[in-house]
């Protein structure tokens, strides 16, 4: 039985599978299952039962999200299905792998999603820098049209779908789903107020679902092999597999598909090969730049949404960034703050003004001019920029490494002040 549904076709040393090879390996099997007699409501129920959670960061249950789209009652108006392929979270490198490695898998996932919510148009909102993904997706899309998996009356189901690739031009906030919708409409990509939620009023005011690339790549397997198979893949409470990555000073950095519920220790030691010679693990961000630091004492925690939440962080994108004992934690957090300050969309005051202030203070620390008063201001910003204080989740994301870093590395901040220099230089 298939146990690595996301990566079974991926081998980066060769081009991705074309239509014929992809089909030979059970590809587009789900469309046959659907045309064999699954209604949109049936597919929705299967996805709900599977327990699939969104892989874009928030971990929201996918079936539940889809169920908020108003029922069509036989007179479907326009709805849109949107793929969030804007991957710009620092330290995150999983969606690129899926799109470059197996573009047909994503297309098959999109077709399933669009069929379920009865959307006849899907946009892939792709990061502009991902040139190889763009080329490979476009090639796969044209193969799918040729085969009749896209276009009119797909597989005799009466369902029509067009998939359009939209390439962006480099702004992190476009990954926030409502900012993404504004960007697609050709507007400045500021987030929108919620409610109304996109599921009810999204792209051009129509019901819209936004899902992450990896989320959608889970769907073909769920439909083709069923819920029991899917739930049997994982080792813990959360279902399925997930891509997990490691960057930083480890022996073998990389990205692997593993069962949810694998321990962090196993990921770092078995797959990553342990820290580089002479270095020790000091801390790590478990799922990209907007997650809270975790410590070596958390290594036996399972890679599972709830387990990681229990120790005060988030699984989020599942791509870990490692901090070793010879790299300055203040410098690392400063680097993240510069990113968030630069990528603030400028719409609300705490984020627009607060993040550059925080960034400026980190510059002072790095050049040995940080003071106790500065440290106090940093602590205050963890509160000022926290959840509920800003218009969207970008600024609260920045406070995750900031707040946990101030707590875990207090001594390092103090040493920068006392020694008037970076002790790691």
């Amino acid at each position: 039985m298939v146990n690595k549904p996301l990566t079974k076709n991926i081998d980066m040393s060769r081009p991705p599978l074309d239509m014929a090879a992809y089909e030979k390996n059970d590809g587009y099997q789900s469309l046959k299952t659907i045309s064999g007699g699954l209604s949109p409501a049936d597919v929705l129920q299967i996805v709900k039962d599977s327990g699939l959670k969104g892989r874009g960061g928030a971990g929201f249950p996918t079936g539940l999200k889809w169920s908020f789209v108003p029922k069509s009652n036989g007179s479907p108006g326009q709805r849109y299905f949107v793929v969030n392929a804007d991957e710009m979270e620092p330290g995150t490198f999983k969606d690129r792998l899926l799109m470059e490695g197996d573009p047909h898998l994503l297309l098959e996932g999109i077709i399933i999603g669009a069929y379920t919510i009865e959307a006849s148009v899907a946009y892939i909102f792709l990061r502009g820098e991902y040139k190889v993904s763009e080329e490979r997706l476009k090639k796969a899309i044209s193969e799918a049209y040729e085969k009749g998996y896209l276009g009119k009356d797909i597989q005799g189901t009466g369902f029509d779908l067009d998939i359009i690739v939209h390439t962006s031009a480099g702004r992190y906030i476009c990954g926030e789903e409502t900012a993404l919708l504004n960007a697609l409409e050709g507007k400045r990509a500021n987030p929108r107020a919620k409610p109304p939620f996109p599921q009810v009023s999204g792209l051009w005011g129509k019901p819209t679902i936004v899902n992450n690339v990896e989320t959608l790549c889970n769907l073909p397997g769920i439909i083709a092999y069923g819920v029991d198979w899917y739930q049997g893949l994982s080792l813990g409470k959360d279902h399925g597999t997930k891509l997990f990555g490691i960057s930083g000073k480890i022996k073998k950095p990389g990205c692997w598909e593993l069962p949810l519920g694998t321990s962090i220790r196993e990921l770092l030691e078995e797959y990553g090969g342990g820290m580089q010679e002479g270095l020790e693990l000091r801390a790590f961000l478990p799922g990209g730049g907007s997650t809270d630091f975790m410590l070596p004492e958390h290594l036996d925690v399972k890679l599972d949404y709830d387990e990681i939440a229990k120790v005060g962080s988030r699984l989020a994108t599942g791509t870990m960034i490692l901090l070793d004992n010879k790299t300055c934690p203040v410098g690392m957090i400063g680097n993240l703050m510069k990113f968030f300050a630069h990528e603030s969309c400028g719409f609300c005051t705490p984020c627009r003004d607060g993040l550059p202030w925080v960034d400026e203070i980190f510059n002072e620390f790095e050049s040995g001019r940080g003071t106790e008063k500065d440290l106090k201001i940093l602590h205050e910003h963890v509160d000022y920029l926290g959840p509920g204080k800003t218009f969207c989740a970008l600024a609260p994301g920045a406070t995750a490494p900031l707040g946990s870093g101030l707590k875990y590395f207090a001594e390092d901040f103090e040493r920068h002040i006392k020694e008037k220099r970076c002790p790691y230089d």
Partner: protein, 171 residues
């Protein structure tokens, strides 16, 4: 539509090439309204002209019937829309966290030494523009940069020297 634009400035619009128009028209077919095509049009013009001049902005605004202020609002929002001329090759250098941990600072200094330009600058011979870019999604192969459309991974001083001389001789 065009009364959104001050007549005297609209007169400064350049003429879009047939190729640009064909590509923009192709995009128009993919969206329910023309405003959505603004960014695509900016990118198409940039691909052909190297950057987006005021005259190009005016031309796109006229062609799509989008107020110039709205179009400028989009152009200035995105990191990869260049409103000033850039060199023949744009270096997009990742300076996000994983690349920082893996020593991108010294790679940046090396490029700076070698080309005599830092972030935001273009070499005197107009060969290279050097820009920072957020995480390029290849963090397990850090440090990373793009030159034009090509990605270069696991950078070292030696590999940077090689890359730069390759692009210099490519014409």
């Amino acid at each position: 539509m065009n009364n959104n634009i001050i007549a005297t400035t609209s007169a400064r619009a350049r003429i879009l090439t047939d190729e640009e128009i064909a590509e923009i028209d192709h995009e128009i077919d993919l969206y329910p309204d023309k405003q959505a095509v603004g960014l695509e049009a900016l990118k198409i013009v940039q691909k052909h002209q190297g950057w987006v001049s005021d005259e190009s902005m005016l031309a796109i605004s006229k062609y799509l019937g989008i107020p110039i202020s709205d179009l400028e609002g989009v152009a200035t929002f995105f990191n990869l829309v260049y409103r000033q001329p850039v060199g023949r090759n744009v270096i997009l250098f990742c300076n996000s966290v994983s690349c920082w941990i893996m020593g991108c600072k010294s790679m940046r200094a090396h490029i700076n030494d070698k080309l005599g330009v830092d972030f935001g600058e273009t070499t005197d011979d107009k060969e290279f523009t050097f820009l920072p870019v957020p995480c390029l999604g290849d963090c397990d192969k850090a440090p990373v940069m793009m030159v034009g459309d090509d990605l270069h991974r696991n950078l070292s001083k030696e590999s940077i020297n090689k890359i730069i001389s390759e692009y210099k001789t490519r014409s």
